[in-house]
Symmetry: C2
Subunit: 256 residues, 2 copies
DNA sequence: GAAATCAACTGGTCTGACCAGTGGACTGGC
DNA sequence: GCCAGTCCACTGGTCAGACCAGTTGATTTC
């Protein structure tokens, strides 16, 4: 049947650097080269693959731009394997936005969807351990806010809380994407974020929000947990998006 | 205040190829180099940037692996600008799955979320033009199924329908990501997809589903439109995911 | 006028070289 | 024995020049 409309597919040449990159990528993704391990030096790879150094280097460039490895001049151990992360995703999302293929408003709306779904699933599937961990993180946020140690440590704990929710939702992909979108958003309106007028008040409100989320998740109230994420993001970002996009953002607010 | 916890950030060296790649990427993303336009030849870029050819080539490799350009040996016009697409996203998602950082089940679940939300928003925001276009595409699917021209053309029209829904939802990002996830899924279980026992029956069911979606969107019944996407994906893929993931997939089925 | 030929390109690859930076071995003084 | 300083082999980053296979368009040939 498949022979009807496309008996043959066009064959395009495979470059040498592609096959080198593929071989290395396969070993990284299969776990044979775990994060933290080292690749041989470039000159060693040259002799192992039987190609020139420029070919090896182009392959390494591709892997590096995909965030799979990192290399440092002078390092006698060779390039370091980083493993797969969400960096590449957020980079791609940032490009989409920068090229005006999608707007900041769409990014925010997308994040509303992801976090809401994360919360919803967490409310249904969370274990006691998940709840304990989330409560711990909120406690840590509270102490950080009290100590006045600045926003950076607070934001890190914030991210950990979201990660804990993602774990409780039993879908790592939701969490990874939400993180990627978050990073892309921060990259775009970073300067405005840094200008939070009163950091203390902001942290207090953030803690309050997280506690509500935790309560909803603990109670297993999936719709409410989802709605909390939507509302919080809308309230926080609505003023930052293009005025024309605001009605669309509001359209994503209610499920019903 | 920011001076408290991180007065200085570490400065890492910027490689020459990075700055070359950045300059070109900026021009592509800003629209100054629209899709279809051509970059100068490598030797020309060498003299414009004042760097060696290997540096230029590594920069082009990075851009090419990001899907922004494409080059072909012997082409006197130089590398072609492709613009931003979802390819990079699906590539990143495929890597996540291949490295077992997320499972096929999570991918499917993620797609359920995206398509459901796309349908929901489309049901609220669609215009008459959107509805007309969707109806046209369903008509085209019907004629393709009747003509027995094979699955490929049918699947293309299918993709166009989903794109039309995404347009109606006024959030391109949802559509792009759904497409990326779709591609990643196809890449993983491609062989099983190709083995659809009875293509005719499958196409008939697909058309039926699309008609239901269109009806819900036309009626403005957002919850129902969303639910249709969830159910269809669940019904189609539930048998293909790891048995342990099935309860999780089912958990994402109902909103309530 | 159509077909075969040719020459001037292109990108892909290889080689060999140099540089700045890194880290371990070696050496000195204590 | 220990620590500081020096040194050197080696790394990745970059450059220059070369060759090849393939494309393209003009030129020649019939």
């Amino acid at each position: 049947m498949a022979a009807f409309d496309a008996p043959f597919t066009p064959v395009e040449p495979v470059r040498a650097y592609q096959r080198v990159a593929e071989q290395i990528e396969d070993r990284i993704l299969s776990g044979e080269l775990p994060p933290g391990s080292r690749l041989p030096g470039e000159r060693e790879l040259v002799s192992q693959f039987g190609v020139g150094r420029s070919t090896v280097r182009e392959a390494l460039r591709v892997l590096q731009s995909a965030g799979l490895i990192r290399s440092r001049p002078g390092d006698p151990l060779g390039a370091e394997v980083l493993g797969v992360s969400a960096d590449n995703l957020s980079q791609a999302l940032g490009r989409l936005t920068r090229s005006h293929l999608c707007s900041l408003g769409e990014l925010i709306q997308f994040r509303m969807v992801l976090e809401a779904e994360s919360n919803r699933l967490a409310a249904r599937l969370r274990t006691e351990d998940d709840l304990t961990r989330m409560a711990e993180l909120i406690e840590r946020m509270r102490s950080l806010a009290g100590a006045g140690t600045g926003l950076r440590a607070f934001s890190e704990t914030d991210a950990l809380f979201h990660q804990a929710v993602a774990e409780a939702s039993r879908n790592a992909l939701l969490g990874l994407c939400a993180r990627a979108v978050h990073d892309a958003v921060v990259e775009i309106i970073e300067h405005k974020i840094a200008n939070v007028a009163d950091a203390t008040a902001w942290m207090a409100r953030s803690i309050d929000h997280h506690e509500q989320v935790l309560a909803a998740i603990r109670a297993g109230d999936a719709p409410h947990a989802a709605q909390l994420a939507r509302r919080a993001l809308h309230a926080y970002y609505a003023d930052h998006v293009e005025p024309t996009a605001r009605p669309l953002l509001t359209a994503a607010l209610e499920e019903e």
